[in-house]
């Protein structure tokens, strides 16, 4: 379940090649962070996985099946997305939005079943949103809104959860809350979590696999401790950092004073 296999993934915008021959495998129980400088191809990579961008056949496989061959509905029951911007301008309630996560499961003529509502309730509980369930989405804070979108993705009961910079615009308390939540869910639900992150320390702290992209190619792939080294960061980001160790094996990246 949640086995993703990628062979020679390419993508070009016009004449510019943005992804170059990316090949990699993911297994479940993995919390994967995708990092790299702006323009290194992170978002493109993720959009290919989500089939938002057109895809060649025999490039990406989910559970040994070419993802191009899945129907939209079917794929939506396996892969869920939490996009970067939640530009919702209509005042649906939290519950209504999370319920939309059940779309790929709901039969048109039967409508939502009690099972669907049960799942929604469970997901609201897991994301600590039950007290807010009848509130209008537009009245929520940034952190709360993000949790709602995550809850909606979880309502899809996916095998793979893909997030694009989910904590960028949140304050530190919410950043931590959300990363902890995702980590916990990835373990409890045994789903593959792939998230794009800018903050390398969060990658170190929470994920167990890190993919470092540079210019559309995989520069390094492995455990974050092994990938996010002083040398790699210098090569890819052109920044000199210090890596501090604490708590026996926990690492922290800091910018030097000079």
């Amino acid at each position: 379940m949640g086995q993703i296999s990628i062979n020679n993934l390419n993508h070009s915008y016009g004449q510019t090649q943005v992804l170059k021959n990316i090949s990699i495998d993911f297994k479940d129980d993995k919390f994967i962070t995708v990092v790299g400088p702006n323009g290194s191809g992170k978002t493109t990579f993720v959009k290919k996985l989500l089939r938002n961008y057109s895809l060649n056949k025999k490039t990406i496989y989910l559970d040994q099946k070419d993802i191009v061959t899945y129907s939209s509905k079917n794929y939506a029951t396996k892969v869920a997305a939490v996009p970067q911007n939640t530009d919702i301008r209509y005042d649906f309630t939290v519950k209504e939005i999370v319920l939309m996560g059940r779309t790929p499961y709901v039969d048109r003529f039967k409508g939502e079943t009690s099972n669907d509502y049960a799942i929604v309730n469970r997901v609201l509980e897991e994301t600590d949103l039950l007290p807010l369930k009848d509130r209008s989405f537009l009245t929520l804070s940034g952190g709360e809104k993000q949790r709602v979108i995550i809850a909606r993705a979880l309502a899809q009961e996916p095998e793979v959860l893909i997030l694009d910079e989910p904590i960028n615009h949140l304050d530190i308390s919410h950043k931590v809350k959300i990363m902890k939540l995702i980590k916990r869910l990835s373990v409890e639900k045994e789903i593959v979590v792939i998230t794009i992150l800018h903050d390398l320390n969060f990658s170190l702290k929470y994920s167990n696999q890190c993919i470092l992209l540079k210019d559309g190619e995989i520069y390094n792939n492995g455990h974050p401790n092994d990938v996010l080294t002083k040398k790699n960061i210098s090569d890819v980001y052109n920044v000199n950092v210090e890596i501090l160790e604490y708590n026996n094996q926990e690492k922290l990246i800091v910018l030097p004073i000079s």
Binding site: K47, L50, R51, N52, S71, S72, K73, N74, Y75, A76, T77, V79, A80, A81, P83, D87, I88, R89, Y90, D91, F92, E96, I97, M100, G101, T103, P104, V106, R108, Q156
Partner: protein, 346 residues
């Protein structure tokens, strides 16, 4: 926001619609007493008609109520339903509450078709439809088709390109119409009158013809209520939730165009209904299309029927084109709603 007792409220609202229809048919320029008009209408209602005797009434009164007033009231209602529900669809698909059914060029296309028919003096009818209606319908559909194809790129139609294409073609057609009017000075009055919108020539035939596309179209809209909700979340999000956005968009825009073109062909260009009724309803009952559609349907009908009634009696015996009334009522009412909801919107 109305959430509880939804069914009961809709039921009550529907009853209000019927009451308004009956009241509207008692109002008019001719000298017919209120009670007499009621009797005439009752003589057509299945159970009640056995209790009503209209034999003593003037033929002209019966003709006026049943053949002149009632068809146009019902046609006005149909037009209101068509434009308001199409407005809901356009606003959802373009994710823009300022969208209305005319942005893909339907109004200028219909006006163009009608202008050509008027200028070439074609005036026979075909299957009970006048050439002007047929010309307007073809003009509207042809224009939508053109706008769509200009914007199309490899089977995808980006929203912005569609909008721009619609605007460009509309401008061009309007200019062309003005040119034709300059060259055919004596027909200008007819052209202007048609474009201002009117249901004054309504007959049971026109009701029968317009009811078919409108009822079918609205049923299709309602059928896709859920999908429209999700599409409001964003195109990519909708795709990621398993919805074939491109196909649904094409289908719904196509149906909405046909529905709008059908009523524009019959009644001319009536503005504001497709813009403010959906918008106002969204403010009152919320964005969920499962609730939005029923309320929009009834509100669209009531709005148009009231507008038509005003257009018939305000400047007795001159009739004000209904398009003028919808704008004159529509704008202030909309401003009132905006002011009332300022806080919520910000």
């Amino acid at each position: 926001m109305i959430t509880k007792n939804n069914g009961k409220i809709i039921g009550l609202y529907t009853v209000i619609l019927f009451v308004i229809i009956i009241f509207a048919s008692t109002i008019g320029v001719a000298d017919i007493r209120f009670n007499d008009a009621l009797k005439i209408i009752s003589s057509r209602i299945p159970f009640i008609k056995q209790f009503v005797n209209i034999e003593q009434m003037k033929t002209s009164s019966i003709l006026i109520v049943l053949n002149i007033r009632l068809p146009r009231i019902i046609l006005a209602g149909i037009v209101g339903i068509a434009l308001a529900t199409s407005g809901v669809v356009f606003q959802a698909i373009f994710k823009n509450p300022m969208a209305d059914p005319y942005i893909l060029g339907i109004s200028s296309g219909a006006a163009f078709g009608a202008t050509l028919v008027i200028i070439f003096g074609i005036s026979f009818s075909f299957l009970g439809l006048s050439m002007i209606s047929i010309g307007a319908f073809l003009g509207a559909m042809g224009t939508t088709f053109l706008v769509y194809n200009i914007a199309r790129l490899n089977n995808r139609t980006p929203v912005i390109t569609l909008l721009l294409s619609g605007i460009a073609i509309s401008f061009f057609l309007s200019a062309f119409i003005n040119l034709l009017m300059t060259m055919n000075n004596d027909q200008v009055e007819k052209i202007v009158f048609w474009t201002m919108g009117s249901v004054s020539s309504a007959s049971w035939k026109s009701v029968a013809i317009s009811i078919i596309p409108v009822v079918s179209g609205v049923s299709i809209f309602v059928f896709f209520s859920k999908e429209l909700n999700v599409i409001l979340m964003g195109e990519e999000t909708a795709q990621n939730l398993g919805i074939d956005v491109e196909t649904i968009r094409k289908l719904l825009l196509g149906v909405a165009s046909i529905v709008s073109a059908a009523v524009v062909a019959v009644s001319g260009i009536i503005g504001f209904v497709g813009l403010i009724v959906p918008h106002a309803m969204r403010m009152i009952v919320g964005p969920d299309h499962k609730r939005l559609f029923p309320y929009t349907i009834i509100s669209g009908a009531i709005f148009m029927i009231i507008a038509d009634t005003i257009s018939r009696i305000a400047l007795n015996p001159t009739e004000i084109p209904i398009g003028v009334i919808t704008s004159l009522i529509g704008a202030p009412y909309f401003i009132f709603l905006l002011v009332k909801n300022k806080k919520i919107l910000s």
